[in-house]
């Protein structure tokens, strides 16, 4: 008896130790990446990095202002497409859980979620670049938006599913219409969670490179026109990183640091949004 008890304790101890180890290993990559980026990139960060456009090799003072703005423009287009479509689809899935359409939408959105991002890029190229004959911010934004849709759809559906049926019934019993109940009670109650999901989706697409390669394409000059090729941080990092020049390598590190910072800021913002208006978590 005592021996088995002792063995159980020992096994338990080892297992707990292993989970500790796994927990640390899970955060280790992020910490290492952050440390390395700060070490490599911080020295190249200067005010001109945020205000200037890229300069030719050998010329000092080049920056990535256009790429930073370009990334924000692309995110803006992606959000304009991904958010309404995703939330609308999620609302449909949670309201009409068992219709054949709901089942197929759920399945297809999972497929879309698993689709390699480069494939989405090819698709955007086929329909938005080839017909007009040139690359554009719009094509890049649409590709990123398409990636956002399944992410937002599924979080929306999940978050709406957590809202208790009793709240829905309470609203209906007060004389709310079905539609009004869904929007101003159910959706409103789940909004914090949906916003978090949306911001996580934004953070996820902000760093995507593959879908932009032959859609947004990149641009060495200042441009915010949606019909023209546009610069983006991931593309700029890619271009600079594979170049043979040391100064460009430094700039690539700095760009990576800025990109990670943007993603971090969005993630932290997501945390804040989750808190309800009254400072207490919504349950």
């Amino acid at each position: 008896m005592i021996r088995t008890a002792r063995r159980r304790h020992a096994t338990s101890g080892v297992m707990i130790g292993l989970t500790y180890l796994a927990a640390i290993l899970a955060t280790l990559p992020l910490l290492l990446i952050l440390l390395h980026l700060v070490k490599q990139g911080a020295s190249s960060l200067s005010p001109s990095f945020f205000t200037n456009t890229p300069r030719p090799v050998g010329e000092a003072g080049g920056g990535m202002a256009n790429a930073i703005v370009g990334t924000l423009v692309l995110i803006g287009i992606a959000v304009a497409i991904g958010l309404p479509v995703g939330i609308g689809a999620g609302l449909y899935l949670s309201e009409k859980k068992t219709t054949p359409l709901a089942h197929s939408v759920r399945f297809l959105s999972d497929v879309l979620n698993g689709l390699p991002s480069i494939v989405i890029g090819i698709f955007a190229w086929e329909f938005l670049v080839r017909p007009v004959g040139h690359f554009s911010a719009l094509a890049g934004g649409v590709a990123l938006g398409a990636m956002m849709i399944p992410l937002v759809t599924r979080t929306t559906e999940e978050m709406l599913g957590v809202v208790p049926t009793s709240l829905r019934e309470a609203a209906l019993a007060l004389g709310y219409s079905q539609w009004r109940t869904s929007v101003s009670i159910v959706l409103r109650t789940a909004l914090a969670g949906i916003a978090t999901g949306a911001l996580v989706a934004v953070a996820r697409i902000a760093g995507e490179t593959a879908p932009l390669l032959f859609t947004a394409f990149g641009n060495q000059f200042w441009s915010t026109a949606v019909r023209e090729p546009i610069a983006a941080l991931p593309l700029q990092i890619f271009t600079y990183a594979i170049s043979p020049y040391d100064t460009w390598h430094q700039q690539a590190w700095a760009g990576a640091l800025v990109l990670i910072s943007i993603v971090l800021i969005i993630s932290i913002a997501a945390r804040f949004v989750t808190r309800s208006r009254f400072g207490a978590p919504v349950d």
């Binding site: 009793s166 709240l167 019934e169 609203a171 019993a173 007060l174 219409s177 109650t189 207490a280 349950d283």
Partner: protein, 287 residues
């Protein structure tokens, strides 16, 4: 307050409970109010193929408290939910037969469930304050979607105060109307839900086991409130607690297996039941 002398009635026989205020004589009521509030004729309610309510024909008087009692699963809540067309919100559920509220057939062609629910308020077993809204917004929630209230929208604050006062909650929350409703205690939340239901000035209010999730003190407050409400609104209360039915209601309906066994004055039902099944139930032989 008469109810406070009856906090622990479980210890004595129900029939012995003093109930002097009950059964206000019908003759004192102004003419026109003798019309029944809710009348059902051969009402049947189904969940798919299962009949949860079978051929119930009953009449609920105006400005009185009618209790519905019966063992678990007898269809009490389903019957109640037929009175404001909430039953049909469950997938696969349907209703047959007729229900009239103040003379209007609520299942008649062209009658919208939304309009019905504005006249027939409802409070549920568990408090359901809207978590994203303040106390004030919760009470005003029904007004916001009610086209009738557009005329006197300026009076929203007044209506909120009146509703909270009728629910006996005003003095407790008047200094924190803009705080979250979730910070209130369970009992306060339930009274808030009653205030929310009252704010649209319904003619009928349906209470579905409103004290089932409350502590004894909060239960007592809600019961006192129900007793007060009978002066201004018709109340139908579902309860699994016979003592509660005896304490707060004027008339009591006993439901068994989806059928209405007996509906009479609360005093008669508990002291002189006509049906042996009623007697068996109230003396605790089953259920």
């Amino acid at each position: 307050m008469h109810l406070s002398t009856e906090v622990a009635p479980d210890q004595r026989p129900v029939s012995a409970a003093p109930r002097p205020q009950v059964n206000a004589p019908e003759t004192e009521r102004p003419p026109g109010e003798t019309q029944p509030c809710i009348v059902t004729t051969k009402l049947c309610a189904f969940f798919g193929d299962h009949a949860a309510i079978k051929n119930v024909s009953m009449s609920v008087p105006q400005r009185a408290v009618t209790a519905i009692i019966g063992p678990s699963g007898c269809g009490k809540s389903t019957l109640l939910r037929c009175f404001n067309r909430m039953h049909e919100t469950v997938p696969g559920a349907r209703v047959e037969g007729m229900v009239e509220v103040l003379g209007s057939r609520i299942y008649g062609a062209g009658t919208s469930p939304i309009a019905v629910r504005r006249h027939v308020g409802m409070v549920f077993q568990r408090p359901t304050p809207f978590p994203t809204m303040s106390i004030r917004a919760n009470v005003a929630a029904g007004l916001k979607v009610d086209p009738r209230s557009h005329r006197d929208r300026g009076d929203t604050d007044e209506i909120v105060q009146e509703a909270l006062a009728r629910a006996g909650l005003w003095s407790e929350v008047k200094d924190r109307l803009d705080k979250s409703a979730m910070a209130l205690s369970g009992g306060q939340q339930q009274r808030l839900c009653i205030a929310r239901a009252l704010a649209t000035r319904p003619r009928v209010i349906l209470l579905d086991e409103p004290t089932a999730s409350l502590d004894p003190l909060s239960t007592q407050k809600v019961e006192e409130l129900v007793y007060e409400l009978r002066n201004t609104v018709t109340v139908v209360i579902v309860t699994h607690n016979m003592q509660q039915a005896a304490r707060v209601s004027d008339r009591t309906a006993f439901l068994l297996g989806g059928e209405l066994v007996e509906l009479t004055t609360t005093r008669d039902l508990f002291t002189a039941p006509r049906d042996p099944r009623t007697e068996a139930y109230i003396t605790g032989r089953f259920g």
